[in-house]
C-alpha cells in the first residue's frame, strides 16, 4: 500500500512526555492525510527540561511547542481536527481552557479533556491529530 508514513524530526531542544529526549517515540508521525502528535508536556525550549508550573503556564508552553511542531511538519493549529487534553486535576480545566482558547482559531477542533495520572510533576499533557 502506498500511504505515506513519515516520522517528523524532533524539535531542537524540545523535551517530550517524559521530560527528556530518551523516549523511544517520535513527537509526531504523518500517516496518510493525518499528522499524529504525541502527548506533549511543558518543556523549556532552550534547556529541554520539563518546566513545572501552573496549569495555565504549562498549557501555554505545551501549545507553543505544539504550534512549532505542527509548523515544522507543514501543518498548523488551524488544521488540527482533534485534541485530547489530559490534566493532573479536572479542577484546573477552566484554567487550561482559558489559555487554550487563545491559541486555537475559531471554530476550534474537536476536543476531549479528562483527568489522568501523569508523569511526576506534570500538570498538562496534550496530544492531537491534525491534517498534514
Amino acid at each position: 500500500m502506498g500511504l505515506i508514513r513519515e516520522v517528523i524530526p524532533r524539535l531542537e531542544g524540545a523535551a517530550d512526555a517524559k521530560g527528556g529526549s530518551s523516549r523511544p517515540g517520535a513527537m509526531a508521525v504523518r500517516g496518510g492525510d493525518f499528522l499524529f502528535v504525541s502527548g506533549l508536556t511543558a518543556a523549556d525550549p532552550q534547556a529541554g527540561e520539563s518546566t513545572a508550573g501552573t496549569t495555565a503556564g504549562e498549557t501555554r508552553q505545551v501549545l507553543i511547542t505544539l504550534e512549532r511542531l505542527l509548523g515544522a511538519a507543514g501543518s498548523s493549529l488551524d488544521k488540527v481536527v482533534k485534541v485530547n487534553v489530559l490534566l493532573d486535576s479536572m479542577l484546573e480545566a477552566p484554567n487550561m481552557n482559558e489559555v487554550y482558547a487563545r491559541f486555537f482559531p475559531d471554530p476550534p477542533p474537536a476536543r476531549t479533556v479528562c483527568g489522568a495520572r501523569l508523569p511526576p510533576g506534570v500538570k498538562v499533557m496534550i496530544e492531537c491529530t491534525a491534517l498534514a
Binding site: P94, N97, P108, P109, A110, R111, C114, A116, L131
Partner: protein, 129 residues
C-alpha cells in the same frame, strides 16, 4: 479539508453552555472526530448526573444525534474510547454499550479517568463520515 460539525441541538453546544473551546465534531479525511460526549440534556444543556447506566443512555442518544446530523451513524463508528470513573463499573458499561453497538462493533478502549463535572462516563469517538 476540515469541516466543522455544529452541535445537533441547542443543548449540546458545550461552548455556549459551558465555555468549552471546542467544536462538537470535525470531519476530515473521510472521518468524523467527535469531542467527548457527555450526559447533557440535548435540549436544555443541563447536566444529567445519574448512574453509569443512565448517563450512558443519554450519551449514546447524544452521540446518535451528533453522528446523524453529520450524515453518519452509530453503525459507522470506527473507534471508541470509553472513559469511566471506576473500573468496577466495566460490566455495567458493557450492558448499555451492547444495546447501541450490537453488530460489527468498533475498536474500543476503556479506561478509568477523572471526568468533568463528576460524570461517571464519557465517550470519545471517531466514525466513518
Amino acid at each position: 479539508m476540515r469541516d466543522v460539525i455544529a452541535a445537533p441541538t441547542a443543548g449540546l453546544d458545550l461552548r455556549r453552555h459551558y465555555g468549552h473551546h471546542q467544536s462538537a465534531a470535525i470531519r476530515a479525511g473521510g472521518l468524523i472526530f467527535c469531542s467527548g460526549v457527555l450526559p447533557i440534556d440535548p435540549e436544555t444543556g443541563e447536566r444529567l448526573h445519574g448512574t453509569l447506566t443512565s448517563e450512558a443512555h443519554v450519551i449514546f442518544n447524544n452521540l446518535k444525534l451528533l453522528l446523524e446530523s453529520a450524515g453518519s451513524s452509530l453503525d459507522r463508528l470506527v473507534q471508541v474510547h470509553a472513559l469511566i470513573y471506576d473500573s468496577i463499573e466495566y460490566d455495567v458499561l458493557n450492558r448499555v454499550y451492547r444495546q447501541y453497538v450490537a453488530n460489527g462493533p468498533p475498536a474500543r478502549t476503556v479506561w478509568t479517568a477523572q471526568i468533568e463535572a463528576g460524570f461517571k462516563v464519557e465517550l470519545d469517538v471517531i466514525a466513518a463520515a
